[in-house]
Amino acid sequence: MDSLTIIAVASIVTAGITTSFGAIGPALGEGKAVSSALSSLAQQPDASATITRTLFVGLAMIESTAIYCFVVSMILLFANPFWNHVIAQAAGK
């Protein structure tokens, strides 16, 4: 295999693994956060404004870890620097 094929295979496989594993952790965390927010809403409906605001901010913080993994996999797939480097080298020859 030439280096272009190796880079392509490694990037595609790594992108899939990155997104799948990056989705597991935040999914568990968000489920936990939403379930405890719902139970505290049921106990104290008066505090719903504060709970909802904190929940949204917290969810966005948790979700951003999944977004980081997604961005990394998108860079690997569509804007891969190693791939571009090898292509530029091959064109320069």
Binding site: R53, V57, E63, I67, Y68, V71, F78, A79
Partner: protein, 231 residues
């Protein structure tokens, strides 16, 4: 596949490129600025007021209330900065209802610029409130060992602000793009509606996080009350 609207180039002269991000950003700025100017031209304090004035008043008072709930006691001081951030990000994501529109926040350069604004504004507000010495001292809280970690967190949260907004907007556009090739009729509409919700939530998150950072920087540390008299 396009990763960001940076790659749509309308006009190029040497190094200078006029891409879709710049054009849409200036369009949004134009709409927001001219719209606000037109609405606030004839404000009334009486009982009869125009619909648009009511609309703007709802937005401004809601933002003011949210800023106050975060812990900033004088929201009108921070309203121009935080309100502009919120309105720009919200307008950028609401524009996706227009066909052919590309949200400028789906480009990493726009979100980095917004995050850098927050990065610069937080120390400015902090210095204004506590003085240079007081603000610099807050980096060494609770002990001097925490100094490098406080600096790292300052930089990493700026990075997180930029990447979070970019990732959310870019993923929304990309999911719609992929779905259009697979199931072209009904399903992309549902995802667009979900994208609108995500965009509003992200606009809220962005401005609230900026408010929280400013609140943390401007909090004046009062000396603890002595529990008992001198022995």
């Amino acid at each position: 596949m396009r990763l960001s609207p940076d790659e749509i180039i309308f006009w190029q002269y040497g190094f200078f490129k006029l891409n879709a991000t710049i054009v849409v950003t200036w369009g949004l700025m134009f709409v927001l600025a001219v719209g606000s100017e037109l609405i606030t031209r004839k404000l009334s304090t009486g009982l009869r007021r125009s619909r648009w004035q009511n609309f703007l008043e709802i937005i401004v008072t809601a933002i003011e209330k949210q800023i106050e709930e975060v812990g900033l006691s004088h929201p009108e001081k921070y309203l121009p900065f935080l309100g502009t951030l919120f309105l720009f990000v919200a307008a950028a994501s609401l524009g996706t209802v227009i066909p052919g529109y590309e949200p400028p926040t789906g480009s990493l350069s726009t979100t980095t610029a917004l995050a850098l604004c927050v990065f610069v504004a937080v120390p400015l507000f902090g210095v204004e409130e506590q003085g240079v010495g007081g603000y610099l001292k807050s980096y060494a809280q609770p002990t001097a060992i925490m100094l490098p970690f406080n600096i790292i967190s300052e930089i990493s949260r700026t990075l997180a602000l930029a990447i979070r907004l970019f990732g959310n907007m870019m993923s929304g556009a990309m999911i719609i793009g992929i779905l259009l090739t697979i199931t072209p009729f009904i399903f992309p509409i549902a995802m667009t509606a979900l994208g609108l919700l995500t965009g509003m939530v992200q606009a809220y998150i962005f401005s609230i996080l900026a408010a929280v950072y400013i609140a943390a920087a401007t909090r004046v540390r009062r000396p603890k009350p002595e529990p008992d008299a001198k022995h």
